[in-house]
Amino acid sequence: MTTKATQPMDKNGIFESNPAYDKRRKRKQTLFFILFRGAAAINGIALLIIVYFMVVNGWRAISWEFLTQPPMEAMTKGGILPCIVGTFYLSFGAILAALPIGIASAIYLNEYARPGKTVRLIRLSINNLAGVPSVVFGLFGLAFFVVILNMGVSIAAGALTLGAMSLPVIIGATEEALKSVPDTYREASLGLGATKWQTIWRVVLPSALPGILTGAILGISRAAGETAPIMFTGAVFFTPKLPTSIFNEVMALPYHIYVLATAGTEIEKTRHLQYGTAIVLIVLVLGMNLIAILWRAHLRKKLK
């Protein structure tokens, strides 16, 4: 536009406005904002469409029995209680295993470590860990937790595998949260004769906690919906019993959907059960996210 250089200018370089050009650039702005708004809207629409299909196809399956009974008659009837319980235990175990290690690693990387080869190597490993496909985590869990550590196919092995998979997310979220704590807090604390650890424990962590917890729960809730990491390590095709020990095998929601949809004896007949199970899984995952968000809001309010 400027190359035309037909703008009349006075000797001070002040030029008159060009109404045609002004109109054009305003139109351009409007066009791009509409595009961006559309791109953002696709996210919401995608979720709505997914939920819509789930509900339309699966609402008939949802009932009190569905939530409180084990599967019956070759999984064509009955409920999914063992799957709900199994997924709950697996997720909870994954949090227990991954949260301390993830937070500790992030504290080391962000607060203590001096930049150098070691830190670069650790960061490289974490970034690569995040890129490892979930089925590879499943195979790792099978080889390491199930076989080498002799845990068998169990809640423990499945939860540890899910935990390992969530580690990069938890570390990333924790590092972000730690970075968002202003350095002036650290300086103020150290300036009063606090040690580095006192500073982290009493000032940095409380300020970062909302971010850490949300990141962690979002990471775990993502893992909770995964099938591949647990199919060799914790989840089984069918077991009507509820687990009594962390070394029991369990059923799990995502694996159950996979089983019903691909390996069941009556795939067509269980269609509504598949959707029903998916609804329960989504509600569970969104519920965990909701808890994370409410918790964060509560902690933030306490800080203010």
Binding site: P115, G191, L192, G193, A194, R202
Partner: protein, 263 residues
């Protein structure tokens, strides 16, 4: 050079704190060149100079706050009561307890007013509740903010105004009974009335503490300090009696700066 050093050593009893041939590097960049100066107890020393002249870097060498910058390096000595604070045997945590700091922007913790002031006591292992309560009150009174906050000690410190927050930060620094108080442009983020309160406070505090204050504001330096030091391009150009510096500076650069010709 040797004679100068010998003089420094003889002067030690008279001075609370001093730097000797101090160089400071951010990576390759040399931010301080051979700074030698000394601070008398119960006096206010003002460090003035244009932005980037090294005055903040210098003050942060005095309680080793620059240790937090990974690529930084220090050469030379900083003496506190005759001991080099950069010697390997020095516990930097104890050092910072003796040499307190007030920062440019008020930086209270996101905790209650009481907890902010008590924090320094808690981290130093003081658990006696009555003692902590008394010390918090004493410090808030010293920082001239007690009357404004005494009825809401459990409220969050973030609800205070900027000037109140800065006085709270001063109270927080005083609570651990430092011997030297470093102030890095403590009033630059405050309005004139809050600034005046801080300056009055500095006047009272110098009875008990050695105060070193960095300021952009030359009137402020003239008002609050006994000694003024002018920094330029990482070098200490000249230091001396505040009255002398502002009326009969020896160096031309100092004169140009204080008469407003640059900076």
């Amino acid at each position: 050079m040797n004679r100068l050093l010998q003089q420094e050593e003889q002067m030690i009893p008279e001075y609370k704190m001093s730097s000797e041939n101090l160089d400071f590097y951010y990576g390759e960049f040399k931010a301080l060149h051979n700074v030698t100066m000394a601070f008398k107890p119960c006096e206010v020393t003002a460090l003035i100079g244009p932005s980037g002249c090294g005055k903040s870097t210098f003050i942060r060498c005095l309680n080793r706050m620059n240790d937090l910058i990974p690529i930084s390096r220090v050469d030379g000595k900083v003496m506190l009561d005759g001991n080099d604070i950069y010697s390997p045997s020095v516990d930097v945590v104890m050092l910072r307890r003796k040499v307190g700091m007030v920062f440019q922007k008020p930086n209270p913790f996101p905790k209650s007013i009481f907890d902010n002031v008590a924090y320094g006591l808690w981290v130093n292992g003081i658990k006696d509740k009555a003692f902590v309560r008394d010390r918090v009150e004493e410090s808030l009174k010293q920082a001239a903010i007690w009357e404004e906050v005494k009825d809401r000690l459990q409220d969050t410190a973030l609800g205070l105004s900027g000037g109140q927050q800065q006085r709270l930060c001063i109270a927080r620094a005083l609570a651990v009974k430092p011997e030297v108080v470093l102030m890095d442009e403590p009033a630059s983020a405050l309005d004139p009335i809050a600034t005046q309160k801080i300056e009055e406070l500095i006047h009272q505090l110098k009875e008990m503490y050695t105060i070193i204050i960095v300021t952009h504001n030359m009137q402020q330096a003239a008002r609050v300090s006994n000694v003024t030091a002018f920094f330029y391009m990482g070098k200490l150009i000249e230091s001396g009696d505040t009255d002398t510096i502002f009326t009969r500076p020896r160096k031309k650069q100092t004169e140009d700066y204080i008469t407003g010709r640059f900076g």
